[in-house]
């Protein structure tokens, strides 16, 4: 292969051969993807539309998309994903700029606070939130001891607790991709725009925002797909009264023994994530 590339005249590239070589390089990862991703997905899809008594069925999808309860479940997942993503973005975007501007020890400390939580498991972090938010938890204890409140505030098992916890746990996945782009952003772009007559606000919307869009898109895709399908976070922080697609799938497999229905819920969840990720990828495409 090397010989062929080296001996090929520079002026006449061999596109077919190059393409073949490129394929050679991706072949192993294609194989692995096929084995651990495509195959299980095909199985999942199959299980969701096959009737164990023979033939095909759309009953599972009909149940999911036709009953108000399950539509509510889908909406719960969507809401969790959208709210978490939106709030995480609003916090992360300015944070990424602060991080990129910070120098010296401050920068190291800020980066460490971002990376270190990634080392702890989601369960540990979600559980930590329950300790903080419980009626006899840290926050209530302190507030009561300080005489600010008399009776504990109900925090755990509320939607607020769910969103706060989810945002906290998934925040690094939003900050890091945005930070990666912001840190590379040349300050000359903003200066050039300003000398061309753009006010700071216009510079932001016409230059900074478009140039950091790839980081935003990556962060949104990551945080949305993580939070829309989160299982541990809603289970520990809100529980039964906020059923999501992820908790429904778990129940279908573990309690109800309805693998077909669980598979269908899995397909719906996957479809939601893929649509959002694809939409955001579309947004970040370069102009022609």
């Amino acid at each position: 292969m090397t010989d062929a590339v080296l001996s090929a005249p520079v002026a006449t590239p061999a596109p077919d051969r190059e393409r073949l070589a490129a394929f050679g390089f991706v072949a192993p990862s294609l194989l692995i993807t096929a084995l651990v991703f495509v195959l299980p997905l095909a199985l999942l899809l199959g299980v969701s539309v096959l009737d164990p008594k023979g033939g095909g069925t759309s009953a599972h999808y009909a149940r999911l998309l036709g009953t108000p309860y399950y539509l509510g479940v889908i909406w719960n997942s969507l809401r969790l994903g959208l709210l978490t993503t939106l709030i995480a973005f609003l916090i992360s975007y300015p944070a990424a700029f602060a991080l990129a501007r910070a120098r010296g020890p401050l920068r190291s400390i800020l980066l460490a606070t971002l990376f270190l939580p990634l080392a702890a498991s989601v369960i540990v972090k979600a559980f930590a939130w329950t300790i903080l938010l419980r009626s006899d938890g840290l926050i209530n204890t302190v507030l009561i001891a300080a005489g600010i409140i008399e009776d504990p505030i109900r925090m755990i098992f509320t939607q607020t607790a769910l969103i706060v916890g989810a945002v906290n746990i998934f925040l690094p996945f939003m900050v890091l991709p945005i930070y990666a782009v912001v840190a590379q952003l040349d300050s000359r772009y903003a200066e050039a725009a300003a000398t061309l007559g753009a006010s700071p606000l216009v510079v932001f919307f016409r230059v900074i925002l478009p140039l950091t869009l790839p980081g935003i898109v990556a962060g949104v895709a990551l945080v949305f797909s993580l939070s829309v399908s989160a299982y541990v976070v809603p289970t520990l922080l809100i529980g039964e009264k906020y059923p999501t697609l992820a908790t429904t799938i778990a129940k279908a497999y573990l309690l109800a023994r309805e693998p077909g229905f669980g598979a269908a819920a899995g397909v719906v969840l996957l479809a939601i994530a893929i649509i959002v990720v694809a939409l955001s990828a579309l947004l970040s495409r370069e102009p022609k």
Binding site: Y189, E191, A198, V202, V207, L211, P287, K288
Partner: protein, 359 residues
């Protein structure tokens, strides 16, 4: 014809970064339509002065007036200056035409007018056919032109170039220097170039400001700067020269007599008796042979460098002094290495500078 009114007036502008004084009471007045170069070594404050003019980092003290308006504390987007950055800073998310249109768009110009201005600016830089291209699909030279078109399109009061040509390779850079000068004259632009390339400064500008350590040492037309350097620094920074240290032993009428290791020399300048000076002259002033009316010195030829239209001869004149002579291609006789030679040069083209200003 009357002198055009001052267009850009920089008065006593100073700027410090921490303990370092980067601009030290700089005065500079530029007329409308003038092309001026800030020339100086790295770190002398050229970029800092340019950024002060653009409003990107305002001076600590002093004032800047542009087109009759005090803009010292006006933010960049209300100044109407055009800047061409060394890295071009073209917006990668916009097309070529999108970049050129940017300034007019943010000023809220009507669409038809924007299209016309973009076409005109792109035609000026000969890129009319590339309006739809992505920036990443352009060569370095083309990007340079787009950056220029983008700055010109808004018809700024002054165009600022910070080493705008330095990223281009030598041949393209030399072509662009001449083309850019012609283009700027055609559109009657007022422009300031920043460079540490003396050839670029001499080629591009009506006047050159030689900067050193945050000050302008000399502001003069290229020819005058070369022929009448105001300081040792200006002499050294622009062109080649012969420099010999000596002591003033007499003088009158703006001329001094200086005793040097190569003999007694006359030079322009006014110094007290006994002052330590550097006597200097340009290489093309040196002629082979003795001349009793002029300065002269002899020595052994150290090297002869043939450069096409000219030949540079380096002579060891003894006692650490050396002579640098430039002989034009028409000269019949060119000495060879190790030859003993004598060169003479006119006293009127010899300058004396205070020795302690030596860089």
């Amino acid at each position: 014809m009357s002198e055009p009114a001052p267009h850009l007036v920089i008065s006593a502008v100073s700027k410090r970064f921490g303990a370092a004084t980067v601009l030290d009471r700089v005065d500079l007045t530029i007329r409308r339509g003038e092309l001026v170069t800030l020339l100086g070594p790295s770190g002398c404050g050229k970029t800092t002065l340019l950024r002060a003019i653009a409003g990107l980092s305002p001076p600590d003290t002093g004032t800047i007036a542009l087109a009759g308006r005090d803009v010292t504390h006006v933010p960049p987007h209300r100044r109407n200056v055009g800047v061409v950055f060394q890295s071009y800073a073209l917006f990668p998310h916009l097309t070529v035409a999108g970049n050129v249109a940017f300034g007019l768009k943010v000023r809220g110009a009507p669409k038809a007018e924007i299209d016309r201005a973009v076409q005109r600016a792109l035609a000026l830089v000969k890129l009319g056919h590339l309006g739809g291209r992505r920036i990443s699909a352009l060569s370095g030279g083309q990007q340079q032109r787009v950056a220029l078109a983008r700055a010109i399109a808004v018809e700024p009061d002054v165009l600022l170039f910070d080493e705008a040509l330095s990223a281009l390779d030598r041949k393209l850079r030399e072509e662009m220097q001449i083309e850019l000068r012609r283009l700027l004259q055609d559109v009657k632009a007022t422009a300031i170039f920043v460079t540490h390339d003396q050839d670029e400064a001499l080629t591009m500008s009506d006047r050159v400001a030689v900067m050193n350590k945050g000050r302008i040492e000399q502001l003069a037309a290229p020819r005058e700067l070369y022929a009448r350097p105001a300081s040792l620094f200006a002499l050294n920074f622009v062109g080649l020269s012969t420099r010999i240290a000596g002591q003033v032993v007499g003088g009158q009428d703006g001329m001094v007599d200086v005793v040097t290791p190569v003999g007694r020399l006359s030079a322009r300048g006014a110094f007290q008796l006994g002052a330590s000076v550097i006597v200097a002259t340009r290489p093309e002033q040196l002629r082979l042979g003795a001349d009793h009316e002029a300065n002269s010195a002899s020595g052994r030829v150290r090297s002869v460098v043939f450069q096409g239209s000219r030949t540079l001869v380096d002579v060891d004149a003894g006692a650490g002094a050396s002579l640098l002579a430039e002989l034009s291609g028409r000269e019949a006789e060119v000495p060879r290495v190790h030859d003993e030679v004598r060169f003479a040069w006119p006293a009127a083209e010899t300058f004396a500078f205070a020795a302690e200003a030596s860089p």
